[in-house]
C-alpha cells in the first residue's frame, strides 16, 4: 500500500511517500498511525497528536476508525487550508 504525506506531516516525516506493509492486527487508520508513530522520532513527531491528522483512502476522505484493507493509497495530512 502506498502512503502519501502532505504539508507538515510530510515535513516532519521527511519523505513525501513510501510503501507500507503493516503487520496483521493493524486494521484501521488509527491503528496505522499508532504503528507509524513507533517507527522513529520523525514519525512520532508527525503523529504526536493524531486527532488533528486527516486521512484519505484511495483519494476519498476517511475517518480514523475506517479499515484500510484493500486500499491502494492511503494519505495523511493536516486540516486543509485551500480556497
Amino acid at each position: 500500500m502506498k502512503a502519501l504525506y502532505f504539508a507538515w506531516v510530510r515535513e516532519r516525516i521527511g519523505i513525501a511517500e513510501e510503501e507500507l506493509s503493516p503487520p496483521a492486527g493493524v486494521a484501521t487508520l488509527a491503528d496505522l498511525m499508532a504503528w507509524l508513530a513507533a517507527r522513529g522520532e520523525n514519525y512520532a513527531h508527525a503523529f504526536e497528536n493524531p486527532q488533528v491528522i486527516r486521512t484519505a483512502l484511495d483519494r476519498v476522505h476517511a475517518k480514523h476508525d475506517a479499515p484500510f484493507a484493500g486500499a491502494r493509497e492511503v494519505a495523511f495530512f493536516p486540516p486543509m487550508t485551500g480556497g
Binding site: 502519501l4 502532505f6 504539508a7 507538515w8 484519505a56 483519494r59 476519498v60 476522505h61 494519505a75 495530512f77 493536516p78 486540516p79 486543509m80 487550508t81 485551500g82 480556497g83
Partner: protein
Amino acid sequence: MATVSVQDADYDTAAEIAAMTAGRTDVGAVVTFSGLCRDDGGTLDALEIEHYPGMAEDEILRVCAEAEARWPLQGCRVIHRHGAIRPGDNIVLVVTASAHRVAAFAAADFLMDYLKSEAPFWKRNRRRADAPGDGGWVSPKASDEAALDRWR
C-alpha cells in the same frame, strides 16, 4: 457539468464567464468569486500552496456535484491554483450560472465554504527575508468551520 482545473497558471475570469454564457439566452445570473493572496502586513514574499494531485480535482468535482444537486445550475466552474502565489495574485476562482440569482449566489458561496474545508490544499506563508518571524503553515480558521454549519 462542472469543470474543474487545478493548475499553477493564472486564470482569466472574463474568459471563464464568456465560456459559460456564450451563445446562450437561458442564463439569467452569473456569480464569480475570486480569492486573492493578501499581504496585510507587507511581510509576505509568497504563499506556497501544496495540493494532493488527483484527490484535489476529485474532491472539488464532488463538491460541485453536491452544489448541482442542491441548486438548478446551468454552469459550474472551479479553478484552484497551486505553487507560489505572490501578494495580489489570484488563488481560486468559482463561477456559477443559473436562470435566477438566488441559486447562483448560494451555490458559489457554498462551493467556497466547502473548498476551504474539504479540498486537499495547504497554504504556507513564505516571508520576505527582512520580515520577522518564520512564516509557516497556515492554520485552519474556526470561522471556516462555522461557515459550513450554514449548509447543514
